[in-house]
């Protein structure tokens, strides 16, 4: 009867210390969000902390602020199209990189992943110079090309991760059972790598929706996206409407992640 006590672990001071560390890290990461959240309900005339009173007026302002509404529309259109294009391109590229051996494989791989390594400001500058003569500045096409370039590495990476863990004999089994290449892809490969593809798509959508630098360079004057509008707004006025907008954006991102997690299991996909 006293045996159970023998195995009771002794107090380990590392445990609460670790807990405190994790708490502080989270606090550090989330503090800006918390402050934005609080400020968006503050009645202060200008963006400042701490709040002087409670109000919903900033939220009420949002639908009437045409710059925000227009920016939101541009950003959503861009993000949706970018996500579609990037999936249509990235998944086949990842498949090719995983399944085939070819001479320039390493080069192709680096080419598609390189936008991650180059500072966006450099890319943005290059694009402005390139798009000028092509009349692509201030067009959807221009913004979309820019966003595709910076989001495709994510899709390729997550898809490759999924492919690396799949058993290729499943595809062989399906072929032997009579399935042609397209059927194998649609019925076997795609469902198996689906978590990676969806994770890549979600990341691409969020990155595109969030992107400021390239949009600013390529389309500031003609077709400002929401991040560009936010930047402009903060430059000109200093009220808490942007804080309210930020809270809405955080909630949208959160909703996307939660829905995908519920439906598909994003956590599984990102692991």
């Amino acid at each position: 009867m006293s045996e159970a006590r023998l195995f009771k672990p002794r107090f380990n001071p590392a445990k609460p210390a670790f807990g405190i560390l994790v708490f502080l890290l989270y606090l550090f990461l989330l503090a800006p969000l918390l402050i934005v959240f609080v400020v968006s309900f503050a009645s202060n005339q200008y963006l400042s902390f701490p709040p002087e009173g409670l109000t919903f007026k900033w939220y009420e302002m949002l639908p009437e602020e045409s710059t925000f509404v227009n920016g939101m529309r541009v950003s959503l259109i861009v993000a949706v199209i970018v996500t579609a294009i990037v999936l249509a391109l990235g998944v086949p590229v990842a498949l090719a990189l995983d399944r085939f051996e070819f001479k320039a494989k390493a080069a192709v791989q680096s080419f598609f992943l390189s936008p991650l390594l180059i500072p966006s400001i450099v890319l943005a500058l290059g694009m402005v110079l390139l798009f000028g003569p092509l009349n692509l500045n201030n067009t959807y096409t221009g913004i979309i090309i820019g966003h595709v370039a910076i989001t495709i590495p994510f899709v390729i990476r997550t898809t490759l991760m999924s492919l690396a863990t799949t058993d290729t004999s499943c595809e062989a089994a399906a072929r032997i059972l009579g399935a042609g290449s397209w059927t194998v892809f649609r019925r076997i490969t795609l469902p198996i790598i689906q978590p990676g593809v969806i994770a890549g798509g979600v990341i691409a959508f969020i990155v595109s929706f969030d992107e400021a630098v390239i949009s600013l360079f390529v389309a500031e004057s003609g077709l400002p996206t929401l991040p560009v509008q936010v930047l402009r707004y903060v430059e000109n006025s200093a009220d808490a409407a942007v804080a309210a907008l930020s809270v809405i954006l955080i909630l949208i991102s959160l909703a996307v992640v939660v829905v995908v997690e519920r439906v598909m299991g994003l956590r599984k996909a990102l692991r």
Partner: protein, 370 residues
């Protein structure tokens, strides 16, 4: 001669120019309804051969003929075969029923027909009650059965099994061996079975192709390859064997199955009886004797015996194997165990055998330059 179900003619696979071929002008005829084991060590070309028959790999040369029709360049999905993979390769995103139905869907079988045949196939592997389960909820043995059902439900022209038992634990492997064999016999599916396990091959196959270095060393029934190995490799790979160099002195009569009895002389040990293919007189051949076919006696008995000294005794309860040193040779033999005294290292032992259990390999040994 009856028409073969599968003929493989001069099939060759070379992975890269300059490399030795993985499969080297392989020829094989498989009869309808037979289970043929491709048996050999890893790298012998057995899996490559299977993959070429399946169509998963293009041969460098040669042809594959099924039911009299050349299919060497027919795409995989048009060959109508069934295959069970070592990893089972079940579709992880489908349940058991959907896995088994896949091949039927590809053949555009009607829904009701699909339902009936899937149920039949699942009953055949005794897993009808698991039809709605997800694949990952199944044990290894169950996955194996589902893979078999999925391959057989389409009534394949050939059933191809790629080391299907190697991922199972020893007990289950024996059960599945019997089960696969009985299902194969019931369905009469002509089957190619890749394995590196000689027991599996001997137990399950109608014919065994013993492969080595991209070649078939011997193609024959299990008793053929075991009792009458054509090469030293076959004798060594299938079961255990003692090898003795024997000079063939004379014929002493004809034996069953067109074989001949011989008098042979083994250097330093005397003259003995043996059996082999006709026409071996005058040259030196390796004599193959299985350890359990050697009689061990602790007293001198008869004339044609090899006298030696027991060097080592291995006792495993139901078997007793002894290593007997005779001259500069060590021979392995097996003895029945009894509760009486066991022989010990250092005891004298006398080895003898029945003439038909001492088999001369057909190819002569190269005579050492005298």
């Amino acid at each position: 001669m009856t028409e073969s179900k599968l003929s493989i003619v001069d099939l060759t696979k070379r992975y890269a120019a300059g490399l030795d071929p993985a499969v080297d002008r392989l020829n094989m005829e498989v009869e309808e309804g037979h289970l043929v084991a491709l048996l050999g060590p890893s790298g012998c070309g057995k899996t490559t051969t299977l993959r070429m028959v399946a169509g998963l790999m293009d041969p460098t040369a040669g042809s594959i003929v099924v039911d009299g029709k050349e299919i060497t360049h027919t795409p995989v999905n048009k060959r109508g075969m069934g295959m069970v993979f070592q990893s089972y390769a079940l579709f992880p995103h489908m349940n058991v029923e959907q896995n088994v139905a896949f091949g039927l869907q590809m053949r555009q079988t009607s829904k009701s027909e699909q339902k009936r045949r899937v149920a039949g196939a699942l009953d055949m592997v005794q897993l009808g009650h698991l039809s709605k389960r997800q694949v990952k909820e199944l044990s290894g043995g169950q996955q194996q059965r589902i893979a078999l059902a999925r391959a057989l439900v389409v009534e394949p022209t050939l059933l191809l099994l790629d080391e299907p038992l190697s991922n199972l634990d020893a007990k289950l492997r024996e059960t599945m061996r019997t089960e696969i064999r009985s299902i194969q016999q019931r369905t009469r599916a002509t089957t190619l079975f890749v394995t590196h396990d000689q027991d599996e091959a001997l137990d399950m196959a109608d014919r065994i192709a013993v492969m080595n270095g991209g070649l078939i060393e011997q193609f024959g029934s299990p008793t053929d390859v075991y009792e009458r190995p054509r090469t030293r490799f076959v004798a060594n790979f299938i079961g255990q064997a003692n090898f003795l160099n024997a000079r063939v002195l004379s014929e002493t009569g004809s034996a069953a199955k067109g074989e001949t009895h011989y008098r042979v002389s083994i250097d330093g040990l005397g003259q003995f009886g043996a059996v082999g293919a006709p026409g071996l007189t005058g040259s030196t051949h390796e004599l193959v004797i299985r350890p359990h076919r050697l009689r061990v006696s602790l007293q001198p008995a008869g004339t044609e015996t090899i006298a030696g000294v027991i060097e080592r005794v291995n006792y495993t309860g139901d078997a007793l194997s002894v290593a007997v040193k005779a001259g500069d040779r060590v021979l392995q033999a097996q003895m029945p165990t009894s509760s009486g005294d066991l022989p010990r290292a250092g005891d004298a032992a006398y080895l003898s055998w029945n003439e038909q259990d001492a088999y001369l390999l057909p190819t002569p040994v190269k005579e050492p330059a005298a």
